[in-house]
């Protein structure tokens, strides 16, 4: 009796495993880039206070920060598992003067969360502008590991300048190395000329979870007269998931269904210089346009739970750019 029961249980286990494998395989596809989150502590008071518990604190803080970063910057995946892209968050002190050394636990100093992004074949990028504790809060009473992880998360992210970190750090993480330009016939002209309607990123919009007002950077290269190809960084306003019309003029549109769709930005962020869309739109041979990378520059989390879609009628409002 018990042997039969054991075989049944084993069978159920095997079936469950197979079903899980099928579901997992079905969900596989292009995924957003993953970033390994590592948390280090260099702040002198924290080293002294936690000492033997320092490793536990670092591990717990890394997990907590990975979760919160995933919530805040949903277009990237954050994990504590090893990844090619690594974000090291370091709780460190900043010395106000030479006589107030970093290893001096008595001289009050500012405590920051330093971000360092490391990617293969690229120089590391760091950001020191995330202040965790001001100088006058240097002697704050420290508690247990869980309590401080909670403080780091709550107080730290409360003081995070999201747009600045986006620009300085996360805009350097490449979402994809290609994109699909959407061209559509110029409306009302009757000519075979087409205009650039926008671009789709080969990632599902609900995976990137980027809402309207998110701004992407599209790096591209295209030929120029008399010289080598021109490299351009173009601003793209994210619109949401791509929903092609019933009878698309281009068969490739169907394959882009649900991918994040963006249009050339008419009013890109002014904190940097952008290349103009005009030269790219004017290229007659579209095959010569090479898209080398897409990055998120300004991110707005999708309020509707990463599932909002735009209606086909949205195209009507964007007549495209005439070449």
């Amino acid at each position: 009796m018990s042997a039969i029961g054991g075989v049944r249980k084993l069978g159920a286990l095997v079936v469950s495993f197979l079903m899980l494998s099928v579901i997992t395989c079905a969900q596989e596809g292009p995924s957003k880039p993953s970033v390994q989150v590592d948390f280090r502590i260099e702040a002198i008071r924290y080293i002294g206070h936690f000492s033997a518990d320092l490793t536990a604190l670092q591990q717990k803080a890394a997990k907590r920060f990975a979760k919160t970063l995933a919530d805040r910057f949903g277009f990237l995946g954050f994990t504590t598992e090893p990844q090619r892209t690594k974000l090291t968050i370091t709780l460190a002190n900043v010395s106000p003067s030479e006589i107030c050394r970093l290893d001096d636990a008595v001289c009050p100093k500012e405590t920051i969360l330093r971000l360092v992004l490391e990617q293969p074949d690229r120089p590391p990028t760091s950001y020191d502008g995330w202040t965790y504790l001001d100088r006058q809060d240097f002697f704050v009473v420290l508690g247990g590991v869980d309590e401080e992880v909670e403080n780091l998360d709550r107080v730290g992210f409360g003081k995070l300048n999201v747009s600045e970190v986006m620009v300085r750090i996360f805009s350097r993480v490449q979402l994809t190395d290609n994109a699909h330009l959407i061209w559509k016939p110029a409306s009302g002209s009757g000519s075979p000329k087409t205009g650039l309607a926008g671009m789709t990123v080969p990632l599902q919009a609900n995976i990137l979870c980027a809402d309207q007002h998110s701004v992407l950077v599209m790096r591209s290269e295209f030929p120029q007269e008399f010289t080598t190809s021109k490299k351009a960084e173009l601003a793209v306003d994210a619109q949401g998931p791509f929903v092609p019309p019933d009878n698309p003029p281009d068969d490739t549109w169907k394959k882009e269904t649900g991918n994040l769709f963006g249009i050339p930005s008419a009013d890109p962020p002014r904190d940097r210089k952008w290349d103009s869309w005009e030269p790219l739109s004017a290229i007659s041979d579209r095959d010569q346009i090479r898209i080398t990378g897409v990055f998120m520059y300004q991110y707005r989390h999708m309020d509707t739970g990463c599932s909002a879609a735009i209606l086909p009628s949205a195209f009507e409002n964007n007549p495209g750019r005439e070449p």
């Binding site: 936690f50 033997a52 518990d53 008595v106 009050p108 002697f139 420290l142 508690g143």
Partner: protein, 352 residues
């Protein structure tokens, strides 16, 4: 009543002497007088010695005079009231006391005078209670303890009857709260010690944790303050406490007012401002010290280490000091630049 003696009558006639050899009248008179003087000296000396060294006897010369006067009155009354033969029988025949006996007594007493003495410890005020039971006197050479005499009254001085020599004898005297001192006890005079005047106060140390270490001593942080005795390469834990304060290890002292100014300078030097109240909070914590009485009094030459250990068991501040002769020393702990981790069992938990 006997009249004045006749000029031709020997001087010894009134004395209780039976020696009446006419051929040597000066000797006959001189011997009893000498004996009498010797006897009186012996009595007075013995009384003085026992009063000084044993704590009993006729307290002062007035007492002796009173007794002598009393005896004189009694003798006068006896001469008036008693029959002559009975009176004669009562008279002590001083001349009959053998000189040898007196000399033996004198010799024995002289020997006692030179080899026995005393140490008396007395407090200079009634309010300043010394824990008398803990006062110790030991022979400097053998370390043998000398037991004190029993005290009948609370305010009675503590007396040690000790052996000595004509050149004195060395003892170690330890009075609680004072540094142990070697004293030389001479015969005859002995030694009277008033601790407040004659002994050095046992040293005490005010250990001041820096601001960061004080924060570790809040209940939430779970840090501990520990004092250790440095005995060669070995450390022995003396005391553990967990109060957010400085620590006075030793006897209670008032903090000298001049120290506050120095503490201010120290805080300014560390750039600790009062913008968020850190400087004031630190100074108050230093001022409101916690008294940690040591198990035994501290002595000059003792080496102590104080440290603040964080909740995560790292030494965040420490100081080491060799005690000197100062009654109270201010010792600031120095914050560690690379905190050392300690084994969990090395620092005992906070006392409840």
């Amino acid at each position: 009543m006997a009249g004045p003696p006749d000029k031709n009558e020997p001087l010894s006639a009134g004395l209780p002497s039976v020696s009446t050899q006419p051929s040597k009248p000066a000797t006959v008179v001189g011997k009893p007088l000498g004996k009498a003087l010797l006897l009186v000296s012996l009595v007075v000396g013995f009384n003085s010695w026992t009063t000084r060294h044993l704590g009993w006897g006729l307290e002062n010369p007035l007492g002796i005079t009173s007794i002598a006067a009393g005896l004189g009155v009694a003798m006068t009354l006896a001469e008036k009231l008693l029959p002559k033969d009975e009176l004669e029988a009562l008279k002590i025949p001083l001349a009959q006391i053998p000189l040898a006996i007196l000399l033996i007594f004198t010799g024995v007493f002289g020997v006692v005078l030179t080899i026995r003495s005393s140490v008396v410890v007395v407090s200079d005020s009634v309010g300043n209670e010394i824990p008398w039971d803990s006062v110790r006197l030991v022979k400097a050479d053998t370390g043998e303890d000398v037991a004190p005499s029993k005290r009948d009254k609370k305010d009675e001085p503590l007396r040690f009857e000790v052996s000595t020599s004509p050149f004195g004898y060395l003892y170690r005297l330890k009075v609680p709260g004072y540094v142990e001192q070697i004293v030389r006890v001479y015969p005859l005079t002995g030694l009277t010690v008033i601790p407040e005047r004659d002994l050095r106060v046992s040293p005490s140390v005010l250990f001041r944790p820096p601001t960061n270490a004080l924060q570790e001593l809040t209940p939430k942080s779970g840090g501990r303050f520990q004092i250790l005795a440095v005995e060669g390469a070995r450390l022995r834990s003396l005391s553990v406490a967990c109060d957010h304060s400085s620590y006075l290890f030793g006897n209670e002292h008032d903090i000298p007012a001049t120290w506050f100014g120095l503490w201010d300078l120290e805080l300014q030097g560390s750039q600790i401002s009062d913008k968020s109240g850190d400087a004031s909070a630190t100074k108050l914590a230093w001022y409101r010290h916690t008294l940690l009485p040591p198990a035994r009094d501290l002595s000059p030459g003792d080496v102590l280490e104080a440290r603040v250990v964080s909740g995560g068991n790292a030494v965040v501040a420490r100081a080491r000091i060799k005690l000197g002769s100062e009654a109270l020393k201010d010792v600031p702990l120095v914050a560690a630049t690379s905190p050392d981790s300690l084994p969990k069992t090395e620092v005992p938990p906070c006392p409840q």
